[in-house]
């Protein structure tokens, strides 16, 4: 069976700084050879250091960024061969910030109905579909005429979800959908996403810094470091026994509420690698407590053992 979404050896670059002496600056490799698949109805989480390329990967999946190399296929068809409109009804985003991602001057009804209008759905039918979708995400008639600033953060995120789902997409790419919300509203939004997943047979890519949330929601997790996947497998298994030293550091820095515990002393230390001057060998070696000579020269491949893939020489 072909997966819903298939990413193969993806490379994404941003141009280096232009102008003056920097005209010939080297491009920044934000994604450096990523392969990942998302099955129908599956939730795949992306976790990793700030700046490791999660949002860049999301942008490539949404067709908002043209990869420098590699391929992304949806149901076997390369994204590059699909029209913008075709793509925009099958893969949709939900972003982190519900404040800035909704047009402040429009009403909820018009924000959620916009994709339908662009697809020339008649007004009467549009009204009906928008109302049904708002009910689905836990909003009501009362909210139709409101503007974003008249809604709470959680309600705004529900509007963003309604807008993403109105065209009945196959895949929803959620980039930190709840990191600006409190734990109760976060639970309401994530439970809603999971309920809609069952009802509409949706697949999700979920970007999150919250390991406990990922463990609960995701079927699989891909841990990223500096533009590559360093570990991938079933979320619960990966966090129960992290194999890659970076995943281990992440795991031990996750804070559960405990007033008797100090901050964890273990940390990565060192510096986030500079994309303009990438480290040789394994990109993690300058910060890895187990680094060996081999790690400094040879980039480890992602190798699978018992359903968990790890890129590490250990």
């Amino acid at each position: 069976m072909t997966p819903l979404l298939e990413i193969e050896d993806l490379v994404c670059r941003y141009p280096g700084r232009r102008g003056g002496f920097f005209r010939h600056a080297r491009p920044i490799h934000a994604i450096n050879g990523v392969s990942l698949s998302v099955g129908e109805g599956e939730v795949v989480a992306l976790v990793g250091e700030s700046g490791c390329g999660k949002s860049t990967l999301a942008r490539a999946m949404l067709g908002l960024l043209k990869p420098a190399a590699g391929a992304i296929r949806l149901d076997g068809t390369p994204l590059a061969a699909m029209t913008r409109r075709e793509l925009a009804r099958r893969i949709l985003p939900v972003f982190q910030d519900p404040y800035s991602s909704l047009n402040p001057s429009k009403t909820v009804e018009s924000i959620v109905g916009l994709p339908l209008r662009l697809n020339r759905v008649p007004a009467e039918e549009r009204r009906r579909i928008v109302r049904a979708m708002l009910m689905r995400v836990g909003l009501s008639e009362r909210h139709l005429a409101r503007r974003p600033h008249q809604l709470s953060g959680g309600q705004r995120q529900r509007v963003a979800i309604a807008r993403a789902l109105i065209m009945e997409p196959k895949l929803v790419v959620c980039d930190e959908p709840t990191s600006s919300l409190d734990v109760s509203v976060q639970a309401q939004i994530l439970n809603l996403l999971m309920q809609l997943r069952r009802e509409l047979r949706l697949s999700y890519v979920l970007i999150s810094h919250n390991l406990a949330v990922v463990e609960r929601l995701a079927d699989r997790v891909a841990i990223m470091y500096f533009g590559r996947i360093v570990e991938e497998g079933p979320a619960a298994a990966v966090f129960a026994r992290p194999r890659h030293p970076y995943t281990q550091a992440l795991r031990s820095a996750a804070l559960s509420p405990d007033p008797d515990q100090p901050l964890p002393s273990a940390g990565l230390g060192g510096e986030v690698p500079d994309p303009a001057a990438p480290p040789s060998g394994c990109a993690f070696h300058p910060r890895c407590p187990h680094a060996m000579d081999r790690c400094r020269v040879e980039t480890p491949d992602l190798r699978e053992v018992n359903g968990i893939a790890v890129a590490c020489h250990l």
Binding site: G154, S184, V213, L217, A253, P257, G267, V272
Partner: protein
Amino acid sequence: MSLLDIGGLWVETAQLPLVRDVDLSLARGETLCLAGESGSGKSLTALALMDLLGPGLRRRATRARFDGIDLLDRGATQRLRGSRIAMIFQEPMTALNPVFTIGTQLEAVYRRHRGGGRAEARRRALHLLERVGIGAPERRLAQFPHELSGGLRQRAMIAMALMCQPDLLIADEPTTALDVTVQAEILRLLEDLQRELGLALILITHDLGVASRMADRCAVMYAGEIVENADRATVFRAPRHPYTQALLRCIPILGSAAPGTPLLDIPGVMPSGVEAGCAFRARCTSAAAECTTAPPLRPVERGSARCWFAS
């Protein structure tokens, strides 16, 4: 004596109060965490202290003193801002100016408040960038904000806030956009600065794991009011207010439930206007007839709580 002492703080629009009757006090070297529902007024409380409220919002207070200085005097607040009281905003991109280099911005803060020459400002900037764990600081000083990753930008913001060696730092969700390892490093840095410099810290955060390890005291807000204010052991071990109790139950914990188990929430939503009675009444499992009258913030063992039944 406390460094900061706020009493009866209100923030309101022409139609609606958004922050109601907030009391806060903080000693040197102490950490106060502000937690609570999204939209409960945490950021507005901080912005009101700094006199940085947006248009259409008014503040008033019965008492607002910082080290003996009256914060209700706008001129005095303006002089303290950026020097003795510094703030880290949630989204560093909105606080950093995109058209100036990191170095220019760090130096400008210092020279505005401290005077002194460029060389002195630059030395301090280099020192602080190193302190916040930014390697190759000379190169970073020459970079523009968009050329830094989220984590580096956030650290640069922290360095900027520390340029004038403030006595009080207000940090609004300083680590939400960061992964947990970078988060741990930044929190440890803040702790070190408190020990070394006696820095007082107001930390606004949704991350109760962070609050439980950083706070000396923790104030929990709901619908514009403080509903509980107590030391960290009380808030996280034996919370008195039903909202705090319900909120803590919602925290997902790694390895504690089978994958696919729904997350716990507090059913219902926070009221958006002011309602009669206790603001938490509609969602409270302990609500009774008394609750149609709004409870005051009452002293309870080791703190205070805004509930008729808290003791």
